[in-house]
Symmetry: D2
Subunit: 486 residues, 4 copies
């Protein structure tokens, strides 16, 4: 989704998770559970829309799924056999309720609800055209562009209108949508964002961003929705539609590296196993004499296990994470902050002291966190700190749905690896190579063996989808921004 300024990547682009059920008497409850399993994809807000055969019911709220859907009466209100849901990523900006998904609109041909994971790259251009035609936008999300395109389409069924709308949008998107007789799942032509189809014992069908959300409700994985595929689930079964030109898949590598849950399987590959293999690649590519391998919790753990196994060094929990870290807390005064308060992580001094440590983390963005963690290890008595990163240097912004800072704020954009090592004060620093990363996914020849099978734009700058808005609106101030905050 995009909001008013698409270029301030730190606050405006978001990851999200989507979920949908068709054909189960407790569709909304299953959706709440599914969203709970997808909570790591978005903690800012959550919403569910359910359809009971006559009416659509909606409940949305800020914060975690468990907070918004903990009320028995609210859940009872979300009646119906079909339902979709959405979780939204935490951004630093203000979150307004009207941007919380799923969207619901009343089209001439019936009610329609939609939830979106990804980011459209020509949303501003389309929005401008729609406003000129008299469309009134109620949110600042790019998702709303889709429903206005549908409302003003040449007519026909909801599916016809949706196909007409999808052909006009550009970008990366996995959508779930709900009509008064069908559940719809769509993946963009390159399949950048994930979406899977599952099936429950009684015959209900399920869409989810990740397979771990099928697991939580005991659904069986059927398959990934194919890139460029629109699947319609209705009482007659599952139908596949292909609104787009055929294209090679370009699935997001960062899902494997960091974003997805380790127990998810994406495009047939275990996320956990890929992470572990990246760790092994790292050990081979950038081994170093050391005493132990320590993951930065929790995302560095699988790669650290792989690194330890490959290098023969012991794997140790050298950093303990406090699981009770929440969003709100007393703001420590400057004098307390100066004590080096470590609310989230604590070094396990008895393990670290006097040791040469290989620290494994998944990425370096601005570098501030890495700098602090290296310093923390040294204060805990580490003799040497060698940082190993389970992704190549992140040198470019993502415009396809992952929240990254502007390019010039990415440490890897401005510095060489040596400069970065000096900046974070590590004794050594190494990233897995792009070919090593491809090998870890099973493509043994590396990236350039043939057309790359993944979107790796954040590492390579090779953007597989046109960045229409970025190229059109070079001036941030050009767009009219009257938006009232609600």
């Amino acid at each position: 989704m995009l909001t008013t300024d698409p270029f301030d990547a730190d606050t405006l682009h978001e990851e999200c998770g989507v979920f949908g059920v068709f054909g189960h008497p407790e569709a909304a409850k299953l959706t709440a559970l599914g969203l709970h399993a997808l909570q790591h994809r978005g903690q800012e807000a959550a919403g569910i829309v359910a359809y009971d055969g006559e009416q659509f019911h909606s409940h949305r709220g800020l914060g975690h799924v468990a907070r918004t859907f903990n009320d028995r009466e609210e859940m009872r209100r979300l009646q119906g056999d079909s339902s979709i849901g959405h979780v939204r990523y935490a951004t630093s900006g203000v979150t307004v309720m009207r941007n919380v998904q799923p969207l619901f609109v009343e089209l001439e041909c019936g009610g329609f609800s939609i939830a979106h994971n990804g980011n459209l790259t020509n949303a501003l251009q389309l929005r401008r055209q729609l406003v000129r035609r008299g469309c009134l936008f109620q949110s600042t999300t790019d998702t709303e562009v889709i429903v206005h395109l549908m409302a003003t389409a040449r007519g026909g069924s909801v599916i016809d209108r949706m196909v007409e709308a999808l052909r006009q949008i550009e970008g990366a998107f996995s959508l779930v949508a709900l009509t008064d007789n069908a559940l719809i799942g769509v993946r963009d032509a390159l399949g950048v964002r994930p979406l899977v189809l599952g099936r429950m014992e009684g015959g209900a069908h399920v869409f989810a961003s990740e397979s771990c959300a099928l697991d939580i409700i005991g659904a069986e994985m059927v398959r990934d929705v194919a890139p460029g595929e629109l699947l319609v689930v209705d009482t007659a079964g599952v139908h596949s539609v292909r609104p787009f030109q055929p294209a090679s898949s370009r699935f997001c590598l960062f899902e494997y590296i960091y974003f997805a849950r380790p127990d998810s399987v994406m495009d047939g590959r275990s996320v956990y196993s890929i992470r572990q293999r990246i760790g092994r690649e790292l050990a081979r590519e950038a081994g170093v004499a050391a005493d132990l391998v320590v993951p930065v919790p929790d995302s560095g753990v699988p790669a650290a296990i792989g690194y330890a196994a490959e290098s023969g060094l012991p794997f140790e929990l050298g950093i303990i994470r406090n699981h009770y870290v929440g969003r709100t807390f007393i703001e420590p005064s400057q004098s307390i902050r100066a004590l080096g308060v470590k609310r989230k992580h604590n070094p396990n001094r008895s393990i670290i002291e006097g040791k040469r440590v290989v620290l494994i983390d998944d990425s370096i963005v601005r570098g501030t966190t890495s700098k602090k963690i290296v310093e923390m290890m040294r204060n805990a008595g580490a003799a040497e700190v060698h940082m190993r990163i389970s992704s190549p240097p992140t040198a470019h912004s993502c415009f396809y749905g992952i929240d990254t800072p502007q390019e010039d704020k990415l440490l890897a954009h401005a510095m060489t690896v040596d400069e970065m090592a000096a900046y974070i004060s590590a004794d050594s620093l190494a990233f897995v190579s792009i070919d090593g990363l491809y090998r870890a996914t099973g493509i043994t020849e590396g990236r350039d063996a043939q057309v790359p099978q993944f979107c790796d734009a954040c590492f390579t700058g090779d953007y597989p989808i046109a960045l229409t808005d970025r190229d059109a609106f070079t001036n941030n101030g050009e767009l009219p921004l009257w938006a009232a905050r609600a």
Copy 2:
């Protein structure tokens, strides 16, 4: 405003209050105070939109003004020199946030906010046309029809678009609207609903539904906005536009009888004085031998004072009202309910006992309340209970913005006055005559002296504005109603 079903008058038609300020550095705070003075016009929800020269800011909430606008930080956010606000009447149905006004939209020509008191009588017809053209409605209020008409107008300035929209709508309405350079106040061609213009010492201008909202902020009353007048307040001053054909004023009589606050002045007449004169008319038209005059609190007080003065009977507080009655409370079980729990009113037995009482109330709608009050007086020992009503029998529904039941549920629609007296078990019952009511407003010749100067449709069935939706949609089920509750 209207919602999905215009014919279930018990829940769907609403009274409201509007307020607007232009040219004061604390516009939103003044608006909150103004809405507070208009709280009797709507307790269900309240909202304010302010414009700070660059951005519109909005805050809306369910419940009382003091509850929604008690947060210092929220108020600080509502920056700007101009602001509009709205209070909404309590209906028995669920209130959804998306129906809470003011509405705010982003038109191609800029941001626009609007608040509405009244009811459009062709909103469903217009809405259907707009949906066919691809407009997406975000609320179920008739007010939103106006902004879609503006968004899809042939263009031009906000004022041009607004005039184009106003010429298409039918019904009773007083509107305040805010653009990025002006505050607008409009009254429908017949001036059914009230709207006044005020002025503050520093030069700021104010619109309000009633003059009591000028008093609370120390503003001076300039004049009533004229029927059919659109007033634009901007930095150049106040400009009058006349979008409609000239027509005779038909101001709502019920504002005088019950709705307005007694300290308001409407069309040059003191509401309190009219109510007192109605009491005098009643005493002349329907005097009765009795010991004391007792108002049904609080709305019957001025008429009771007038009745007592004219009849020479003593005025007494024979019924005490509990001022702490709120909306939420423990629901008494049936066994407790049977005790005749009187949470709202208590008879002042020591005054009532053994006395012949003239009870003064403002109207009889379904008759259930009157029945209970008469019974309460008898239980408190009243020797006789004579009910006198300060309005003619309410025999017809209102379609112009006052919440009345369907016609067939109005006691006066089905019964003669004698039957009603028997139904409520009063020793006698009398209503002021329609001519007596007109005389109390100062029209000494009564109603038919010339074209009636007021809308008295609820008493006479003489509807001065076409009821397009009612006549078109005779079948309640005809309209598509997918509305998700939010």
Copy 3:
């Protein structure tokens, strides 16, 4: 009740209301209704304790009764056939939950709960002795002294212990208490504070501070609890105990003047009728040439009706009260405050303008409110403003349970009536005489006909109960005050 500093009368002394039921299956619900009818006696906090034959259940909360007891589950928890409740007056200080009544303690002989209206005048002395003996106080209320006296009593039954405790305390008090087999009601020896006994149809008994709380649940008034009487209600019936020496009754006059609800009957006298008769006395004692009589709403209304009837002047609502005034609201900035914002009252200008007005109010405390109201009337165009007060000058503090400022902050303590008239800028000012006040209560010979039948200490300085703490602790700082706020 008293808190840490008994001498800052503005914040520490409180009026309260108490209620109790014995023998009804929905005792707690009836108590909630009774407290609701007594809400005017205390808006700060409310609490209920119920006994179900095995366990005591308690629920207490800050704010209005309807707010604390609106939760169905909480009410369901308050099981049992007997129950007591308490409302507490709003003070300017912080209210802490641990001071909210009823208190509940576990004595050796069983559970015991108590609620208190009034103020003990030797509580600090007793508290000091008890602390020395090792008692741990959990609140800062004087009520807790009673339960510690009971806990450390020489033993015996709960009633024996209570009588032993009551004989040690001094002050004004009406108490209701609950044990595992009885409901108890007590009034101090002089009967300063009110307490009535009622009876429901099924045989349940009820105690309440005022008769209006019997009315709301349909209970019949039996009689006032006599001064110095302790009534025990148990399954065997109602038993009267007399723990104190016989003494003449000294009921609080301010209950009649202002505090009680007008529909209550106290000591056989209608509060409403007394207020009206005070108005008549005022008209006789201090009549003045004028055009109309205007009450300061709402407490001035009955006296104004009496004054108008006696003087022949018309009674008019010249000041309109906004019934939606709540506690919390946006704090107007200084610039807005300067506009003379009148959130609570608005003059009814059309009635006032050019008229000589007699304003009727119940009392003058510090004089600031009276000053503002006179000014408001002048700004609304009143030709003359004559203030008439339905009580004698309040020149002394109350130590028996009514919240009054320290003596030196009372306007009447420092000024003559003429000086007060000048201070509030009234054209004339008069108070009802002390004899006129006694006459209005039915004692036709006035105060000094015999021993005064009322406590009138706030007018006369004649304190009928010893002020032990005031005389002992002349130095505010003397008491140890470690109290943690909770």
Copy 4:
């Protein structure tokens, strides 16, 4: 602490965490941080009392530390240089605010606040005596017994009274207490529960249940408070008092096995290292042919790392934990529950499938969780499941502050290891031996080399402290229980 029934161990015994600071201008903020680091010791409630040189300030609330202490104004109110805090373990029963610690009382000699980790074994006996003497208890915690003993002590200073009280209580306890001039830390004679002393750079002193709470505020560890030691910290420094007879230390083994945070150091031993060594002992004592070692997250991780290292088998995250599991959530209906919803854990199927798995967990209590996890592993395709437990069988209840079920509900109380293996359907089951456990703590000769250095009663039934209440009150119903819930 104990509540009304000491024998229903599932709900009544609790673990807790305590913290205290003396001599830092932001004592309460440091305490909030310290409690945050101790959150794993109690999630039910948290409280802080601070002393500002004149007054004690208290704030307590249900739920997590971050929730109760997230309000800037509340924190500002907790002024002062010294402060103590408490976190309380989640029990299944209702938690009432009045049981939330620290307790605060006003003794004759001044204010006194106390927080307690542990459980008194003669609290009921003492409470009964105190109630007979007229003491009123305000909570149902055993901690309150201590303050009543102090209040009714023969007098003298706070320390004298505290020593007199401590000599009367039996049980396991680590206390922190605050007076108007000192911070106090106490450990029972056997040192069953932990307590450490730390020091900050500016000279402030700190007590904490675990060293990880020193780390979070950058305090340096000074030493463990010795068993039977009372440490007084005041402006003169740190003074040691020895109220009890010398005794051998019997520190709780379960702190090492499960309760403490792995980064804490207790009695000079790293918790993490002990857990890892237990894993190694397990591998040696109960090795089994398998393909991988999987920890039950998160507590099984260190032992699993040790087991893997010793056995040479790969360590793998075969179970993924959802970190967003909160307390409140929609209650799944029975039909959904039947789907085998796994909100907390998900098997990492791609790792597990077809493999022989060694599962490492810390303990088996009732066995229900183990049974489910084994089943989950089988459903995920595990070929064999071998359960290894990093503690000996828990066959006896704890009465010293850890929440365990009644003995007859402990799986190990009724079954042999083989029966347990069958019950949980594991292919094999083994526990570390008691000697192996002692060896892991560094006592190479095992338990019986000399007097055991630890409390291992839950494994051996050898209770080092008298169980007075248990032995005295064999009948649950004997105690009077009038307690009102508040």
